[in-house]
Amino acid sequence: MAESLLKAIGISKAFVGVQALKNVSFEIQPGEIHCLAGENGSGKSTLIKVISGVYTPDEGYMEFNGKQYSKITPIEAINNGIQVIYQDFSVFSNLTVMENLAFNSELADGRKLVNWKRMRNIAEEAIAKIDFEVDLDAYVGTLTVAEKQMIAISRALMFNTKLIIMDEPTTALTKKEVRNLFNIILKLKDRGIAILFVSHKLNEVFEISENFTILRSGELVASGSTADLDDRKFSYFMTGREFEKRHFVATNVSEKPIFEARSIGIEGVFSDISFKVHRGEIVGITGLLDSGRTELALSMFGIRPIETGELLIDGQQVSITSPKAAILHKLGYVPEDRLSEGLFLSQSIADNIVISEIDRLTKTAGVVDQDKRSAEIDKWVKELAIATPDPNNACQTLSGGNQQRIVLAKWLACNLDVLVLNGPTVGVDIGSKHDIHGILQELAKEGLGLVIISDDLPEVLENCSRILVMKSGNFVAELQADETDEQTILSYML
């Protein structure tokens, strides 16, 4: 067997009282594609930071190319050929592609003056390594996420790189861009560069990696060849729980629709969209990113009011031209990007829960009734099992799954009739995803009408009773979830 590129033996690391890593060992061979998986807080990032020299391990040691280190500095890590590509890619969006590519090596050479010609040469050389074509004079801020990632990769390759660590590289990419990225990863592998791929999306783990390591609560729970791994085992290793799929069956469907859209449209975005939502059912709307699905959700909630057609709630025609009007008609919306659109991250969990119903929690003269307020908060924290020691903590202290629960709680507190969810489990780990699905199904059974907008097909199939497929601003198919499969939906989407 060839000598390992990197070995980490018995690594432990604790932060003020929290054991982030417990006796974790793993190794990676030259040219190996290795996936490091684990839920939020499992110690993935800590492990990366130990390897790249940001943290010093409390116990254990590392071996690079047979040389032993009990601790390593960031510079030593780079000199040993380790490069980390963080989730934000560490690019400068205010500067040109050329500078972004050339800065690191210019700095490493200790240059004091800028020679634009030399910078251009360095940049050209860098992008040629992965056959990446881009305008060197463009500002990085105008590029797509995938292009920024390519810049980060090209930049990482400029040193004598042997291992590239990518932190959640596919989070913001479209399917096509992911494919592209995988091709590049395979090319790098051919050149003997090892890739450590951090992810919690299992289809990616299966597709690209040869070996895997799964962490849970700082401990190594499984490692080995990806070929021996399957869906169920993966979920089990990640969460320590066994899941069975609970296909949603609408049981308590109302006769009359609670929400109806009659040939609604917005010029150039979508047109002639008609559908009904009954109490007790979950309607799935799926389509590619540019199909208009998000815009449709936004117009249901009044953020982008419709231009043609009409909306009916409970049989009455209504005009929804603002989110306020939508809330008045008992319609709620969980946005795609909960971090920037759905939550006040720096505010407390409690305030986030009561924000939408704050008008109803008042005494005379508009003063908030503190007793009512805390009763509401306690109720929802309990009901949705939000894991927090204190609801007065800031929202950003919670994991993605728990944050999503707060968004839900905020709406449920309003006694809604219809709830529209856009990408309800994006960036949420497996365990929480499962729980959120359970909550949604429960809500439908209690008589809420739900619309889930998602391109996560297994999610749509598992949770929706009816599925509407959108393409270029139109519905192209309506399918019953129990009579269809992923392939069929995909064929309509594309």
């Binding site: 560490s90 690019v91 400068f92 969006s93 205010n94 500067l95 004091k112 105008t142 096509k176």
Partner: protein
Amino acid sequence: MEYKTKRILKKITRRNEPYIFLVLLALCLLIEVRSGQFFSSNNLVDIASALIVPGLFAIGAFLVIISGGIDVSFPALASLSVYATTKYLLDINYEGGVWLAILMALAIGALLGAFNGLFIGYFKLPALIVTLGSSSVFKGIMQGALNSRQLTIIPQGMRDWGTSALFTAKNPVSGLTSRMPVAFIAFLIVLFFVSFMMRYTMFGRSIYAIGGSESSSHRAGFNVIRTKFIMYIMVGMIASLAGVIRVCMMQQAHPTNMLGMEMNIIAGVVLGGTAITGGRGTLLGCMLGTLLIVIVENSLILLGVPTSFKSVFTGALIIIGTGVSAYQVIRMNRTRRMKTRARRVA
């Protein structure tokens, strides 16, 4: 070929400088048409000499804003260093050249700038809070410890430098003359030095990089703390130079005369297309924006607008100017999103 010109054109229209230049030109022409005095040689010289002090302040403010910070302390900083210098030189009955005054003010400016840089760079405190605080501290030292009052006499060397002219322009119609102060050279030197630094040194590029993303700069290997520290020292020195020039040109040291200038200076910098969030902007735009403010402040009288309405006009200009650039950003983001979309479809 056609593609290339198109791209260059697109690049130009995306930038702020052409717009501000057009506005500037329109304003100049308007004043010229109304008064016939704008393009007279003495008025142009007057404007150039009125640009020196705000221009120097603007260069300092520009550096700070590019780095992602904001500095509201530079007028107080300049006042303190020049007041201390003048007072000391008077006390020792200094009779030599202006160079000692400049060197002393620069040294004090560097020290006071280091004070800002220490808190902003090393202690990582927000620049606005630190400079609001240091502004009060500087004013307090000046008024309390130095017991400041108006100094109607300044040392001989400073007085001579303030009145010495590169050349004198005479208006053939009105017979008015205007002097181009020697200090204009100092302004040009600083301008040249800073533009070279921002474009051709790693230090200058690191200021841009830090304004773009501090954490990325750190990861790329820039020394963020040291860069900020040195930059605030430089800003302190540039502001103090402006202070010395101001005192020399006015022939007296007035302790509160410069206070309150910070808002118009920052507005000029932002008007010239420097992003208030940091990382983006050019010195050329910054100078055009400052020039616009200077012209409005100095030449409205030629339009027949009473001086008491000056601040209304400056305010309106700032709102409109920054509004236009904000609109541009929105438009740019929109086209960018559409482009991303188009690419996703492709």
